[in-house]
Structures are given as structure tokens and as C-alpha cells.
Amino acid sequence: MLILECPYCGVKAEETELAAGGEAHLKRFGPGSDEDQFHDYLFMRENPKGVHFERWRHANGCGKWFHAARCTTTLEVFGTYSAQTYEPPQEIKDKITAKRPGWSWREFSDGAK
């Protein structure tokens, strides 16, 4: 039973107040995209063991979507942040780097690389 802090209303909400929304920072491909782009956008998933970025909605609450950086093997939460961004904030990336040196996820990483 996870708890995540909603960055919009500040509530430390438990899982039953939230709705999980899958992988974060997907880039939408519409008409004009090629087969692979569209396929990857809809179906290919990182599904990592470790650092993951995902979407949640504070469904039984303020109703806002937000992003969370979380470890899928320990369930540690590195931070939550606005859904209205194309990449995780530096502060959260730094926090992950401090705890999981060498991490990488899609195009994001600890910067050492």
C-alpha cells in the first residue's frame, strides 16, 4: 500500500486515493509517424527493475495527474513532480543519483555517462 505525495495539493495520499497511469514521459506519435514510432509509443515499455518514472492521478483527491520517480524493486519513492514537463527535474535526478549511482532510464541518466 504505497504512499505518494501529490505535488499539486500536498497530500501524502495512499494508493487507494490514487490511480496508476503507466510509464511517464511518453512522446505521442499521431498520423504521419512511422510504424515503429507508433508501435513503440503505444506498446513498448521500459518495465525496469529499479528506477522508474511513472504517471499517477490523485483520483480520489484533487484529480491532478503527476509524475513519480520510484524504484520497482524496493518501492522507494525518490520524488513526485508535475505532469507538465518533458523530463524529470534536476533535483529529482540528483536525488536518484545519490541513491542509485549509475542509473539510467530511456534518455535520462545520472549524468556521469
Partner: protein, 414 residues
């Protein structure tokens, strides 16, 4: 291999069971095999078994990170059924179900397949239509199912409450030849048979890398050293994305926790398996007397084999509603497994971007019931490059938009 029988047990009893031999050998890996199967769960072992039995390929290693049968094979609710709606699903699950019927004899290991019948309750008009549709499809697919009325439901399941104030039982889809089996025994039985064919089951051996040469699989790096192979099959539920990553490709899949629980044992009170999808609960009674109860999947990625307790609550209240007596039983134990879920919630049994490397994953909640059919088909695919049973389950279907969506009839596919 010494055969198991009542006579053998009696003979051994006289010498205090000192004469039993190992059920499977525990060999060190050889440097090279024709085929490496990664994952000694039900699917991996069944694939190895049918490679040997149907195609005479026995220079096979089955590599397992932990202990054989220690993943989802040993942590599911043991339901076996094939009343699926879509043709490809019905074909492979029915193949599996029919192989379960003779598995004890085939393997000379009692897997306790119990064709006690599986019933899926209809509790809304929409569900009635969905199950009637499935019954029609099954008739043409060669799967024996029937639509039954509430009175017959009560006859088969005396402990059910047909007249719940919220969702009265309006009928059910009934598959008489579906049932349950002893999950561990399936893995053990296959392991014993594989070992007997000369295959090596290598436990406590973790794959740390996949060697690909010129686009073709060449072997694996493991915690017990490098092992070469001609062909490789990946059958690692809950780890498939991770292993695919080692081989350099990605999967249209996510891993989530699925939970189950058992009650304390009570005397027999329910002879069939009941699934109630509207209220999200399903239940059967094990031979030990425990009520075996399945819950729902979490929505977020998770590799911990622990789920969120609210799913247990949802499941339990559904069962209390459907079977009021459950209220006065106690939960003995709850646990979780990691299931892989694809974009259409149907499995992948497929060639991969790496030549001679095959994948079988994404069974979601359907893993146990499909074991023998999956192994049979996977063996055929690996040995010959083609299997009609796996044709529609290829990775390409997501590009083409040719999905196999079972949720259309049942809501939830367990």
C-alpha cells in the same frame, strides 16, 4: 528412472522408504547445449519436455536462477480452464487442458489434475451476453462449455448466494472438464521426466548476460560460467523484460503484482471453481480444505512479490457477498507473484529480433493453466520454426493492430 506406483510405495514402506532415488539430477553445466531454456518454471520445463518427447532434442539445459518451480508456477491459484473467447487463446488453452488430463500418466507423477469444473458467474445483462457469446464461440472451437441457469448454479455450488441484494446470479458459463491441479507437482513431474531424458536442470544459476553474435544467439553468461547454445528459449515470467534487455530488445509488456490468499482449511464444501468477475473474486477449495482465493492485479510496476492490501479487501468482500459463509472463515496466508502483462493482455510466443532466440512470456494471469499447451507449442516453434498454436501470438501483432483481446467477454481474464 524408477517408476512410481502404489506397488512401489508399498515396497519402499517395507524398507522405511530408504530406496527412493532423486526425482531429478543436480548436474554442473556443460559448456555447450543444443538448446538452452532459461527458466525452470512450468513453461520452461514443459518446453524442454516436449522438445525431447516430440522432437527428440535432448541435449538441453534448463537454467534456473532460484529453485525449479519457485516462481509463478508455485504461487498461483491452480485453475485450469480453456473457455476463452478468441480462437488463438481457445486453441492453446484447450491444448493445455487436454494435456493436463493425461499428464499424471504421461509423466508418471500424480499432478492431481481434478476436472471438477469451472464456473464463471454472470451477474449483469452484459455478462450474460458475453458468456453466451463465449459459449457459441467455444462450440465451434471444440471447447466444451455451456450456459447454465441459476438453479443449476446452486445445484453445483450449494454454498453460493444466488440472491445477493446487489448482483444476483443470473446464470453462468460452465466448463465441466476444467478444474485444478497441484501446481508444484506439475513442475516436479516435468523436471523428473526431463532429467530422465538426460536433460540438465541447473538450479541456482542466474543468467547475467546473453551472447549474441551476428544477430544470432550464441550462449549465455551465468553465475556458473558461460554456456554456449544453438537455440535459446526465454521463459521467465516476471523477468522477461530484464532478460530481453540483456539480449538487446524490448518488449511490449509491464510487470505487476498479482495476489492470492487462502483460508484456513475446512471440510469439503465446494466441489467446483467459481469465478465472479463483476465483483472481482474467484474461489476454489483445495484438497487440503483451504479456500483458495484469487485477487486482482496492481496497476503499477512492481517486482517485490508483494501487492497492495486493498486488492485483498476488494476480493474478500466480493466473496463474502457471493458466499456469505466466507465471512466466518479466516485468512491464513496471502502472497503475491509478479505477472507480465502485454498490451492486449495475451501472451507473446514468438521469434525475436535475435535469431534462434525465442520468447514465451506475458501470460498475465493465465500462466498456470496454459503450461502444457504453451510448452508443446513453444517446443514446436523452437524445433521447426513454426507452430500453428503460436502463429497469432507473435510480437508483430502489435504493429499490425491484430490484438487478441480476451477482456471483451469476461472483463477480467484469470
Amino acid at each position: 528412472m524408477k517408476r512410481y506406483s502404489a506397488f512401489a510405495v508399498a515396497r519402499e514402506a517395507l524398507r522405511y522408504h530408504t530406496g527412493w532415488e532423486r526425482a531429478w539430477r543436480s548436474p554442473a553445466p556443460k559448456p555447450h547445449y543444443d538448446v538452452i531454456i532459461v527458466g525452470a518454471g512450468g513453461h520452461g520445463l514443459a518446453t524442454a519436455y516436449y522438445l525431447g518427447k516430440n522432437f527428440g532434442i535432448t541435449n538441453v539445459a534448463v537454467i534456473e536462477k532460484g529453485w525449479l518451480g519457485g516462481g509463478n508456477t508455485g504461487r498461483n491459484t491452480t485453475i485450469i480452464r480453456s473457455n476463452y473467447l478468441q480462437d488463438p487463446s481457445a486453441a492453446i488453452y484447450e491444448k493445455a487442458r487436454s494435456l493436463y488430463e493425461t499428464m499424471s500418466q504421461d509423466l508418471n507423477y500424480n499432478v492431481m489434475f481434478s476436472p471438477r469444473g469451472v464456473m464463471m458467474l454472470a451477474q449483469t445483462e452484459h455478462e450474460i451476453r458475453g458468456y453466451k457469446r463465449t459459449a457459441h464461440a467455444n462450440a465451434l472451437q471444440g471447447v466444451q462449455t455451456e450456459w447454465i441457469e441459476p438453479a443449476r448454479v446452486k445445484e453445483l455450488v450449494p454454498i453460493i448466494n444466488l440472491h445477493g441484494p446487489r448482483y444476483p446470479v443470473l446464470g453462468a458459463l460452465w466448463q465441466e472438464r476444467a478444474g485444478t491441479a497441484r501446481h508444484d507437482a506439475v513442475a516436479w513431474g516435468y523436471a523428473r521426466a526431463c532429467s530422465d531424458m538426460g536433460m540438465d536442470i541447473i538450479q541456482q544459476c542466474e543468467v547475467t548476460g546473453v551472447r549474441v553474435e551476428n544477430g544470432r544467439v550464441a550462449g549465455v553468461e551465468t553465475s556458473k560460467g558461460a554456456i554456449d547454445c544453438e537455440k535459446m528459449g526465454m521463459l521467465v515470467a516476471g523477468n522477461a523484460s530484464h532478460l530481453a534487455d540483456m539480449a538487446g530488445f524490448r518488449l511490449p509488456m509491464e510487470s505487476v503484482a498479482l495476489q492470492a490468499l487462502v483460508s484456513e482449511p475446512i471440510k469439503p464444501c465446494m466441489d467446483v471453481v467459481v469465478m465472479a468477475n463483476t465483483v472481482h473474486g474467484y474461489m476454489s477449495q483445495s484438497d487440503k480444505g483451504e479456500m483458495v482465493i484469487g485477487g486482482g492485479t496492481d496497476a503499477a510496476n512492481n517486482y517485490t512479490q508483494r501487492g497492495s492490501f486493498h486488492h485483498i479487501e476488494e476480493t474478500v468482500r466480493a466473496l463474502v457477498e457471493t458466499f456469505p459463509m466466507v465471512s466466518r472463515l479466516k485468512m491464513l496466508r496471502q502472497w503475491g507473484g509478479i505477472v507480465d502483462v502485454t498490451g492486449d493482455r495475451s501472451p507473446l510466443i514468438s521469434k525475436t529480433p535475435v535469431d534462434n532466440c525465442f520468447i514465451n512470456c506475458g501470460w498475465g494471469t493465465g500462466g498456470f493453466k496454459s503450461i502444457p499447451g504453451s510448452g508443446w507449442a513453444m517446443a514446436e516453434l523452437m524445433a521447426t520454426g513454426h507452430s500453428p498454436l503460436t502463429e497469432e501470438f507473435s510480437m508483430n501483432r502489435f504493429k499490425e493492430g491484430k490484438f487478441i483481446d480476451e477482456s471483451v467477454a469476461a472483463g477480467v481474464a484469470h
